[in-house]
Symmetry: C2
DNA sequence: GACAGTGTTGACCATACGGTCAAAACACTG
DNA sequence: CAGTGTTTTGACCGTATGGTCAACACTGTC
């Protein structure tokens, strides 16, 4: 067996993800990534192929470990309103506690979608669809078990909630304080009552 | 009197604004700007000082000629709900008819606020505050004249509507189609009913 | 027509960019 | 310890970046 890798690819990817997340693809330079990961240039290219390749892997990692994981944690068949309310709480808490105000990696990238490669656009869209589905599923459940009134349209409301989340993510990057973010949450709950 | 300028600074700024708007500050290179404006490098620097300086002027121009102008046009003391509804209509129409899907220059920049210079952040915040005020004013009016029920909280609802607009702008850049954007609008109206 | 004041031009600058690669370092096998 | 397959290293590459500037062009005044 030949020489083994001397650095933890997973940890390096984590560090790289943080930088991309905070500064965006174009705002991040290779030397930023080298500094953050502590890895030599050649090794990084050997491991990830290119800046684009590293970015794609960063998006995928964020999507599965941050976004999906959060939704999975909050999923609650017995208390759909609690799940939705909890998601907004989690987003607000994450937003105000992050000193870098990185926001959401997916949303940050989504707002630049027309300038992204097709592969990246695909992953972003799929993440957004999945988040919308989280709302749709819980609203449907709530209607079925009586927590949410029947006149609420699950499809439209889910889209509205997704838009509110995206908007919250935008405004949380330096425009709204915690109190204002909570006001957004209160309006989200109004949509499903 | 000396030589007069041989190019229309205002038109040059318009062209530059389009590029910044579509590609963002970091995604736009000086040669992009030279190509778009058709102006020589030295002249552009002579007129605007720097890339940053040009960007600030672009933001200010967009804010006064696009954002403010649209809100001013829709302002309607006698039909506050119509004004709000009309704003969403205008945003949706603008979004689906723009082949470049540029979205909103302010929102695009707002999502990158932590990486922006203080001057820019200041202008973005002020534009956002002003937009929130548009909603607040019309909701207040609606409550006064009976179009909007009394239990609606003007402050919170205004923030919610602003978040919905921001979210709509994000999703309109390649994720939602016109029908889905309309669903967002329907939820916006639900907030003030 | 000399002068002054402004505008224009494009060559030029240092640096930073993303990316490559030959050489060295290493762990294993026979 | 030679041989093999893999990883690490950092010097190097071509190009693009934002920005500067001396030379020149133009329009007015005296």
């Amino acid at each position: 067996m030949p020489w083994e890798k001397s650095f933890d690819m997973d940890e390096a990817l984590d560090r790289a993800t943080e930088v991309f997340w905070a500064k965006g693809y174009e705002g991040t330079s290779m030397s930023d990534l080298l500094k953050a990961t502590g890895i030599n240039k050649g090794s990084l290219y050997n491991a990830f192929g290119s800046k684009q390749g590293l970015f794609v892997k960063a998006i995928l990692k964020y999507d599965s470990q941050s976004r999906k994981a959060t939704l999975e944690r909050l999923r609650d068949q017995n208390n759909p309103i609690g799940a939705i309310s909890g998601l907004f709480d989690a987003l607000i808490e994450e937003s105000v506690s992050d000193p870098d105000k990185k926001g959401c990696f997916l949303v940050n990238t989504a707002l630049n979608l027309p300038n992204q490669e097709a592969v990246i656009a695909k992953h972003i869209k799929s993440g957004m669809n999945d988040s919308e589905k989280f709302f749709f599923d819980h609203i449907s459940l709530g209607k079925k078990n009586g927590d949410i009134p029947d006149h609420v349209d699950a499809r439209s409301s889910a889209k509205g909630l997704l838009a509110l989340v995206a908007g919250l993510r935008v405004l949380a990057r330096g425009i709204f304080d915690k109190k204002s973010l909570r006001a957004i949450k209160s309006q989200a709950l109004k949509i499903i009552e």
